[in-house]
Symmetry: C2
Subunit: 371 residues, 2 copies
Amino acid sequence: MSIESTNTLVLTSRDVANIVGRVGCDYFMDEMIKRLQRAFEIYDPSRVTVPVRDGFHYSQPQTGLLEWMPIHQHGRGVLVKMVGYHPHNPIRHCLPTVLSAFSLFDTSTGRLLAFVDGVLLTAIRTGAASAVATRLLARNDGGCVGIIGCGAQAVTQLHALSRIMSISEVRCYDKNPAVMESFGKRISSCIGDSPLLLSPTPEEVASESDVLCTATSVDVAAGPVFKFVSTREHLHVNAVGSDLAGKTELPRLLLEQSLVCPDFPEQAQKEGECQQLNADQIGPSLLQVAANPNHWRAATTRRTVFDSTGWALEDAVATELVMDLAVTLEIGTRMSVDSDISDPWNPYAEVAGDVNSEASQQQQTAHGALY
Amino acid sequence: MSIESTNTLVLTSRDVANIVGRVGCDYFMDEMIKRLQRAFEIYDPSRVTVPVRDGFHYSQPQTGLLEWMPIHQHGRGVLVKMVGYHPHNPIRHCLPTVLSAFSLFDTSTGRLLAFVDGVLLTAIRTGAASAVATRLLARNDGGCVGIIGCGAQAVTQLHALSRIMSISEVRCYDKNPAVMESFGKRISSCIGDSPLLLSPTPEEVASESDVLCTATSVDVAAGPVFKFVSTREHLHVNAVGSDLAGKTELPRLLLEQSLVCPDFPEQAQKEGECQQLNADQIGPSLLQVAANPNHWRAATTRRTVFDSTGWALEDAVATELVMDLAVTLEIGTRMSVDSDISDPWNPYAEVAGDVNSEASQQQQTAHGALY
């Protein structure tokens, strides 16, 4: 990951939006899909360590969780994403359900190389992962895309799909009518002239879809988000909402009919749709499919499910992409977060420092009126 | 924790040094010791969740580790410290061995309230914890303080002790002669007129001390850092170096002679001096002693060891203290890290945003020539 100076690169949510805006949403998504597929193809588990994420789950002050998702790419650094899931955010706080922040560390020294807001990147990489899965597991003749849950993640799911398949129509459902009705405005640029149909039931969406995406905030133990119905024999589902023990979106019978491919099997068995299955009912991981697509080609004619719980490797690819562009476009702020150290043996060296020193004066100028 | 706005408070290493400098090292340390002791006394395990830290340990590109230390103070937020331990840093990179960064999250929404460099704060809170332990477990008539390992942590250990005991002399040892010889310059303000004696051996330090501090970067399996020798019957040891499986500093026989009080028993058995003991040889935690000091008063006449592996509760207290002062002194930078969100259902809302909007123009001004 290219770093120009010893300072920490800070990319706020606005910086990330500016980067994506400068190169264009389509270019950014295409590049993300391309890099992600490549990362899956060349993945070498002996060169990467990814623990199953862990975190705090709570019901007070309201339902939520804060988790850490770490990844060590040997010789390339450690990335830790802190991710929050607070389903009451949009209505109560006008904030996204999923907030996150990436910290990238240099494993030579432990220094913080970058601190990057992860809201948009998480939405994009989750969409990109579904696009990779859809390319590998769905029939390649396009068709109807169904969306159950029309929130923020659904926007990037549909955008990502629009980059890799021909969408003849979109059918969507959200239990919140206002969110369903405003969906068209949010995704108009993705679907061009194809019609968007608001479905009266999630079951109708499921039964009419060639590719289905579930991206809901269903409560723990309240799933599935649609009743088992007859679906197309080649249906491919990207199930992206499950990310908690007990939280699942799909009817168990549909899973049992399908080849279920988790992003991160160990995690999917704890938090994903795979919670509903025995180990012998779980198919290959998306990695295995990506590494040997010809072997799994026949799966495209049957029902398939990508069980997407979110994987730190995806975050690492997203961070590398946005940092590459930040350097090229000169967007972002470089801050001496941890680098103002003159004596590694004396933690008080800077405290006792001469306030008239050059470094100190520069700092005062940078902080302006605070001093 | 008082937050004035919805923006994230960022405190760099220089900001933290400025805050400590403005109030004075002694005031800051005294306040840290006072708040820490209070936090120990009122600790309610039903209101706080602290997992044992976890992380990545590696030998390439050089020996090091990066760990996450999370704490959930129910109703008060989640703090995650990312901490790096890279013992080659001072010589090879002119950086401290221990680098760290604190991220504080609001559990109502998952928003990032503060991002704070942790190098100085970690050193201070580790010193303050030893001061609390020394006050509870050592004879209160002062005497000779021994220091084995004269690096950055030793400076704040000695500073903290100087605030709670009368130091008649300091004996120190470091296997790096240059680090030992420069120690006096770093700690002169802590010890006033008391003599600093450079010892030829760590055993001499151990045998002559009333209070001993070990703060070394001894390699895994290379301990102890001094051979078992006869020590004072009331010796109190603050062992702060152990923080890795297999890394220990004290001779096992000394531990067996002593009442050993860990900061965080579960972690100390994995990473601290307690690794060398059976469960029935481990004494009360420092919390238990702090909650009932009279019950443990007799321990002050015998050998005692504070097994300090570093505890996220200490980091939470340090973060709260520095944030309180940052607000009062108006030091630090407020950044919209994750708060430029106009539509929680549309991750692209800011990408597509009108570049002539007021918010966008303000951002361009703030980033100046980058645009």
